[in-house]
Symmetry: C2
Amino acid sequence: MSKIEIGHGSGGKLTRELIEKTYLRYFSDEELRPLEDAATIDFSGTKIAITTDSYVIRPLFFPGGNIGKLSVCGTVNDLVVSGAVPRYLSLGFILEEGFSIDSLEQIVQSISETAAKSEIKVVTGDTKVVEKDKCDGLYINTTGIGEIARPMNMESISAGDAVIVTGTLGDHGTAVALARDEFDIKASVESDCAALNELLTPLFKIAGLKWMRDPTRGGVATVLVELSETSGLGVEVYEERVPVREDVRFIQDMLGYDPLYLANEGKAVIVTSDESSNTILQILRKHPLGKDASVIGKVSSKYKGVRLKTRIGGERILDMLEEDMLPRIC
Amino acid sequence: MSKIEIGHGSGGKLTRELIEKTYLRYFSDEELRPLEDAATIDFSGTKIAITTDSYVIRPLFFPGGNIGKLSVCGTVNDLVVSGAVPRYLSLGFILEEGFSIDSLEQIVQSISETAAKSEIKVVTGDTKVVEKDKCDGLYINTTGIGEIARPMNMESISAGDAVIVTGTLGDHGTAVALARDEFDIKASVESDCAALNELLTPLFKIAGLKWMRDPTRGGVATVLVELSETSGLGVEVYEERVPVREDVRFIQDMLGYDPLYLANEGKAVIVTSDESSNTILQILRKHPLGKDASVIGKVSSKYKGVRLKTRIGGERILDMLEEDMLPRIC
């Protein structure tokens, strides 16, 4: 009898397998099929985006944020990369018996502040309590609703398009790994945890903007592999153009992790026509959250899959993450 | 330092305290304030209801249903009692490492069947995996969106209105209690777990219909206490008119629980003008899910609070549940 493994939550291959074999056998709704971060639904002519995420991060508090801030940013970002203006948020708490009400209050305060900053309204909520050892402090589900302002889909992507990332990769995964105190490394890396509505909504008016995605679980590599698999196109990535903080690169070299696979919580991958790529870069770089934006690659019709052109002149195939290298980072 | 207790998830006094002291200090959005089961939001002129619930029931499978069926029914019912036609559903799974994929598949199948029957579409989802002993098999969050077809609010309630329940009380709480095998009682009680859209949406056209609520955690008593506290009106309940199955009454007498406080998952409390109460009863009783519908009480302006006129001619004040008498029944 097969059992759930940690890797089923990686956002990589096993997750995809679970979705295909277990979920999609029973759900065939056309809204669900595209498997984007948010579904698009039609409400009496108004196009609405809806997205849901459960947050089970460990530890609950980490440099640069906590599970509350994360749960708002993650859902706001899923809406924004879908071309939607975030509007409403629901909150579902699962609390472990014995959890500190002071900590809960700090988390709720972060949710409130982050929601206000992201201009999204918390409109409904639910709290359940479970016995000790049936949770890990608390889990949060946020479901977000936004109004589609700029429809986007993968089908508009074509050979020659540019692939942009909005900033340095792997800050979140590294910050959380260090916060767990499992590694004997002293360094101060902050999570990039941020809501991207202010950074990304100005791009909605750029005609060449084609597709966006926030590279959380599985990182940028997983996003690009999914893009390649679904579109049937190839992606070429230039390692030297991938922005990674010096300390993050150093730490991840030691740990043997690749920043391209690490989770981010305040970054976006953007696909744009080549002509619009400079305009988009300029807009991004004017904002503090986009100052390190970089064109890291381009779309090709000559092959399928994702190829990394390494710094030393070699080439490496980037595949989907097999296992969860760092579970519960979001 | 205060800590979360099991009772904070009861839906009763402690839950209310947590909401008032911890959540509402930070959220002041007018949509959240009414604290109804679903929030009403405005989307370019279309009124939309949104509701969220996490399901942490133990055991996952019980006579009459499982956590999957429950998670759809609960959310569909929250929409319907808010006067909305259910439309879209999101699904968030938290899975425990080692959980059987066969069991997951049974649960997903139930979700799919129940959603189809309730005419609600699953449009987006999320899966997270946590280590052993950080969950209890699986937890599900469902967030539902519906279109408001019949706005309702407590403010329309006035003295003389009738209080109806759509069927026997306490079946779900009793079925789950027995399924836990903690009591040495052999009996076969099924949960009433059902989606109420087919039963209740025909009532939307009745002018005298004023307010509905599904009595889950905390039961009918808690719903009526909340109604009384918020409206400032009193409610008189006649014990002899409260429908309870013979075997449920017998078992709950032994266990010392009051069916008025037990959770239901396929029942509604309805407040209607006295004139419309017979029409509503007739409509309800024509449907299998409403065959035991009964007027159990009336609204009064002469006092506040909820008074139970007992079978033997006495009177008892019904208060909000202090503690969780049966945790994790929904």
